[in-house]
Symmetry: none
């Protein structure tokens, strides 16, 4: 695989535009009665037309057999090796609630929990308190400042919150305070390296202050922290691909992942129609668009085969608005499969199509898992998507002389 440093050397900025449409969890498995997957069941004349006029294949988001989470699968589509560019749990939690992380920030996942008189954990989730109550408690802890490190505490859902440490040289090489078991006391936060010791002492002071603050708030009388992670300092798409990229994504997590690689996140309505309208509205201002449709994945996770089919058909009906913009490259694919029959993400390769004036179509007749197998691209890793997109947009110069 060609590395980002090598791509950077051969890419040049041009006016040509690339649209990457990610239909989350698009890949599926056959319905037991019909033998057809969700995509094979949906009526998709526009996708089929793009498949005919373009080139097809099947992508492995992270690797054969590997079921990816949202972060590695999207980073791979954005051209970043997901085994090398990893995003820590705490940061993902913060991205998922649209927290505005800055470079240098360290985020951790937090739980409100219950401890007894001798300090042992009796309930790691404090009785799964309500999200409303969680918000009230977060307001009590939010805004601390310990030795120049500003601390932000934001609710996620029920007993879960995010804590963000912002200060010079705050390091993420810290162990969890959450022992992951009841009947034990919360652990002290321990530094993985001498350089992280100041960070550990600040994290422990935050926990001690939180404990004092929450003393009368039974059952939520203590906090547990885990997954300390730095906001990643990845090279930006503008630097490595010479692109001016924008993201259209109604869900916080995907906006956050787009920001990590330097995309401009566009304000958008949440429906599929509104997303395509946002694309049209901003079309002249950027040369790369990541457009994310979430509802297919949700229907898959819910095990709702029919709803997933309907969402796919809705995307198909909206497609002419994208096609009419006539970008140099249209890519339609997914971050991973979410078969309704499995009710969750899966490892199955994902259908992929790329349509451009220069793509040497191979005559795949429709856009489906089984038709894409016979596409010219065969089965390939998702990290190849960006080089293919750039090449077909005529943005890549010769490699070597």
């Amino acid at each position: 695989m060609i590395g980002l440093d090598q791509i950077r050397e051969i890419v040049s900025s041009t006016p040509s535009k690339i649209v990457l449409l990610v239909i989350d969890g698009l890949g599926g498995l056959p319905h037991p009665e019909t033998g057809r997957t969700e995509l094979e069941s949906a009526r998709t004349p526009n996708l089929d037309r793009l498949a005919k006029e373009g080139i097809c294949g099947m992508i492995d988001p992270v690797g054969p057999g590997i079921t990816p989470g949202s972060a590695p699968s999207h980073l791979a589509l954005f051209g970043y090796d997901p085994l090398k560019f990893t995003v820590g749990r705490g940061v993902l939690e913060a991205l998922g609630i649209d927290f505005e992380l800055k470079e240098g920030d360290v985020a951790a996942r937090g739980n409100f929990c219950t401890i007894d008189g001798s300090g042992l954990i009796t309930d790691r989730r404090a009785g799964r308190l309500s999200t409303e109550r969680c918000s009230e408690l977060c307001r009590l802890l939010d805004g601390m400042n310990i030795e120049g490190v500003a601390i932000f505490v934001s609710p996620v859902r029920e007993h879960r919150f995010v804590v963000v440490f912002r200060g010079e040289g705050f390091l993420s090489a810290l162990d969890d305070s959450d022992p992951q078991r009841e009947g034990l006391p919360p652990k002290d936060v321990i530094a993985h390296s001498p350089r992280a010791e100041k960070a550990a002492s600040i994290a422990n002071e935050f926990i001690a202050t939180a404990r004092a603050t929450l003393a009368e708030r039974y059952p939520a009388n203590m906090v547990l922290l885990r997954g300390f992670a730095h906001y990643p300092d990845f090279p930006k798409m503008s630097e490595v691909f010479s692109l001016k990229p924008a993201a259209i994504a109604p869900y916080p997590m995907y906006r956050g992942l787009a920001k990590v690689v330097g995309m401009e996140v566009l304000p958008t309505g949440a429906t599929i129609g509104e997303e395509f309208a946002t694309l049209a509205h901003h079309y002249n201002s950027y040369d790369f668009f990541f457009l994310h449709v979430k509802e297919t994945d949700i229907a898959g996770e819910d095990g709702d085969f029919k709803r997933k089919v309907r969402v796919i058909e809705e995307v198909d009906r909206a497609l002419p608005r994208l096609i009419d913009l006539d970008p140099a490259v249209i890519i339609v694919t997914a971050d991973h499969s979410t078969p309704a029959v499995l009710k969750g993400h899966s490892w199955h390769p994902v259908p992929f199509l790329l349509c451009s004036k220069w793509c040497r179509p191979e005559g795949v007749a429709e856009f489906s898992e089984r038709a894409c197998i016979n596409g010219v691209l065969g089965r390939f890793p998702a990290t190849d998507v960006m080089p293919l997109a750039l090449a077909n947009a005529l943005k890549l110069k010769k490699f070597g002389a």
Copy 2:
């Protein structure tokens, strides 16, 4: 490629079972008269049915164009990168005669040879003495103990034997004593590193003692050693894949390779029928089975196209006994190709099928080299086999969040 350390993080033990059937040297080339390979010539209704109900592809055991030996090709199927996890020649020779190697052992290949009065080698093979004579001579040398290092000498065939050094800190970083040419004296064993110097002196003392012992045994009056190698300390399949693996293999080499990755080697009869009976007998006690059929490879090496076809048909007839056990995942493939027309291992990719409830079949109509090309898996490295097997047995959790 995802590494063993990354797989280890996402794998969990479940009751679901995986059977990996390796038909040694299965891949072939067309018969000059019929244009069909061995597999395409064989009548294989059961394999064809599995191909239809499963997913297919072609594997490269080590890499495109690379003809693998048995060790790298099997290690790749077991999930170990064969370019990284290497087994030295001396160890392979010992595994091939079922010598019970222990961790820390160093093994070398030995030849009985002939030297003249001035110590120059006149015949590197001592006139290719009989295996029986070789055994007698090995008994003379077996059981030496030099400075606390126990030394075992076992016959292989004709002039060839294995020597195993067992002792604290015996190192394998030693050069051969075999100059690979006649007319030269045997070389002193030289250490590659200062830490191996004691080992070199023990090896040289063994050689000197052997020379004295064999002085009157012309033409076998000297020994040559080469391929010093440590018994490899690979991570075990139980550690990296959370499996309880068992091997069913009548040939020593394959039993030995299975042991290297921590499989339990089951006692078994040598016929294909007996091997499948062994599988059924132990089916409840393990969750991963490696079942090895050797006769296809032997027929290929002998250039016996028809016999190879017959063996494939015999495997096919035995298959229902495996299918009836209803494992979560059945894989049928080979370690490499052994086309009868080439009379040896070859570099050609190998047909592969995987059958599971969750595999999204693509409708390949039969199990053959040419049909598998159109399988959804395309052409892929053998090291992907284990992740695919684990995924389809629902043993892998999400990678990343």
